[in-house]
Amino acid sequence: MTILVDKTTKVIVQGITGREGHFHTKAMLDYGTTILAGTTPGKSGQEVEGIPVFDSVVEAKEQFPEINASIIFVPARFAADATYEALDAGLTIVSLITEHIPVHEEMRFIELARRQGSYIVGPNTPGIITPGQCKLGIMPAHVFKPGRVGLISRSGTLTYEVAASLTEAGFGQSTALGLGGDPIVGMSFVDALKLFEADDGTDATVLIGEIGGSAEEAAATYIKKHISKPVIAYIAGRTAPKGKRMGHAGAIVSGKTGTADGKIKALRKAGATVIDRPIDVDEALQKIL
């Protein structure tokens, strides 16, 4: 009915006693997310908003074996370890809010997640929300409404922008997720498109991309081959200057991918509807659904 999270999701908040952790624990609880435990090493025994704090995920799982998802607010230097810990404890959904994590650590925990089949959403993500059921993130909840449009984005605030447009136009969302703003992220457009395609609660997917990398090009290839549901895409950064080149290696690896034009062309060619402005999502969906 939705992807990744729903009303059965049982959450642990890693870094719950920190400023952000505490603030968003309250916001998620207010939204109705089932949070069973939190961790901050060394602070076992405390409580935050009535939620018990443990030294480790494993200890929390001893008391609440039903925990299956984590949201991580741990500072950058310790966030990789928190992610390893969540994976090691067998959690299948990790919403990794922290930004500025060393990229070498990111590659390692993403590889580990891939091996065990867990999803890491992020790092540097606003998280995941299944409106009306579960918010595993830091997004302003009021711009989202339950519905049947899937929303995937590489950008945080732009997700809210588009969600607000959708909601205003009467199109609720099945699930919305930010993939994360870092060059390396756990979940890709392709991973999310695959889940939305299989989800009978989703009629169409809105994909919000931006310049840089080749995630949108990969999505286009995948859409062409495997996606039957309509895809609407918006690519930010058409007018942005070319980013600084990452040596010859960067040019060799990325080839001609990375520009807004290239991404837009690839997505159009794959059958997606590409819109020029976030507000155009309304009209595009009207035509399709």
């Binding site: 950058a76 993403i110 606003p126 302003p140 950008s155 990969a218 942005a240 990452m246 040596g247 976030p278």
Partner: protein
């Protein structure tokens, strides 16, 4: 963070990658003395944090200390692509039989390091990649296991090397991998790796970019960053130190927003209505009033700016903080330009009250705001 060639070469030296004999000079006299010590023909190479110095005249050759002094004097007066040359690397000049390319970077779509090797190295490597992709061998590396010896050999072989040469190139790839890992690199390259007529392998140029997010575990680099030496312009550097991302552009409408994607979308919207952004400025997530106030100052330091578009979509970022920042900044702004504000999201009501109390209007729609700010500039112009 990009390192200077001589810094990258220090990192190479630590893992045993062979380098030309060299010395670093910040004056022409030093250049002469180093050349005398080296007692061989030398290359004098501008040390700047940008590419393309060769074509810009930043590399010269000399056979004598006097010629080296003269060349160094010239280069040390240059500014290349906006970067003043503060130091030159004086290096033994090598005879070249072959130029090889070795590089390791991060493949974003695979989320893995990728090692790249080509027997056709040199400045034209990107053209080789485009026209003869089969001449460029790649090997994706398991980020947990790292580059193994047998993988390095296979990569060298796939690039066309055989026998002893294959083993030597593989050995250098493994050392380059050490550089990559030890320095938390985003990128490291040897281009060209020179094969001399007597069969020696020497890294003639060196490139090393370190992941900014890893600097906390590289004390020495942190200190250099603290000293303000980087590839960024002064305003970019200033913004960076304040926790924001700022990029200067050619237009006249200042752009401030929270979140890179939103800022890009804002620029696109401005362009959509015929305007031209003067900059990209992302205040980042959860910015404070003070940061917003700093952001406005930075944007207005750019003399071309005739109007500013502030686009706030509150998530972690709170509208009330942003509103306070705008009001604080307006008290001390150097110039009076129209500011168009779009604000929705977390604490929108509180933010609205603060702006209303100061008689500052704002809009809810990004699109409408983009249209308005373009009109402001057109009206003035």
């Amino acid at each position: 963070m990009r390192l200077f060639e001589y810094e990258a070469k220090d990192a190479f030296r630590q893992v045993g990658i062979p380098l030309p004999a060299s010395g670093l000079a910040s004056t022409a006299r030093e250049a002469a003395r180093i050349t005398e010590d080296l007692a061989c023909p030398v290359a004098i190479k501008a040390q700047i944090l940008a590419g393309g110095r060769g074509k810009a005249g930043g590399i010269k050759f000399a056979d004598t200390p006097e010629a080296s002094k003269e060349a160094a004097a010239k280069i040390l007066k240059m500014t290349i692509h906006g970067h003043p040359v503060r130091r030159v690397l004086i290096e033994q000049r090598l005879e070249i039989k072959q130029e090889i390319y070795l590089g390791i970077t991060i493949d974003r779509s695979e989320r893995k390091p990728v090692a790249i090797c080509s027997a056709m190295g040199g400045v034209d490597i990107e053209q080789v990649a485009e026209k003869h992709p089969e001449k460029i061998a790649r090997s994706w590396i398991d980020p947990i296991l790292g580059l193994r010896d047998f993988e390095a050999r296979q990569l060298a072989k796939n690039a066309g090397f055989e026998g002893r040469t294959m083993l030597q190139v593989a050995g250098l790839l493994l050392r380059l991998w050490q550089v990559f890992i030890k320095n938390d690199a985003e990128l490291t390259e040897i281009n060209p790796l020179i094969v001399t007529p007597d069969g020696k392998f020497i890294a003639a140029d060196a490139r090393l970019n370190v992941d900014d997010n890893s600097l906390f575990r590289h004390q020495a680099l942190l200190e250099r960053v603290g000293a303000g030496i980087s590839e960024k312009t002064k305003l970019e550097q200033q913004a960076h130190e304040l926790g924001m991302t700022y990029v200067e552009l050619e237009g006249n409408i200042g752009i401030i927003g929270n979140g890179a994607g939103l800022v890009m979308a804002t620029m696109d919207a401005v362009k959509y209505y015929g305007g031209a952004p003067a900059n990209f400025l992302d205040v980042g997530g959860g910015a404070t009033a003070e940061r917003m106030s700093n952001a406005l100052e930075i944007v207005l330091s750019h003399p071309d700016v005739e109007a500013v578009f502030i686009n706030i979509l509150g998530g972690i970022t709170r509208c009330d903080e942003m509103a306070r920042g705008i009001i604080d900044a307006q008290k001390t702004l150097p110039r009076d330009v129209p500011i168009v504000i779009r604000m929705i999201g977390t604490r929108e009501k509180e933010g609205a009250e603060i702006l209303a109390a100061a008689n500052i209007p704002f809009l809810n729609s990004m699109d409408a705001a983009a249209k308005r700010v373009v009109e402001q500039v057109t009206k003035r112009g």
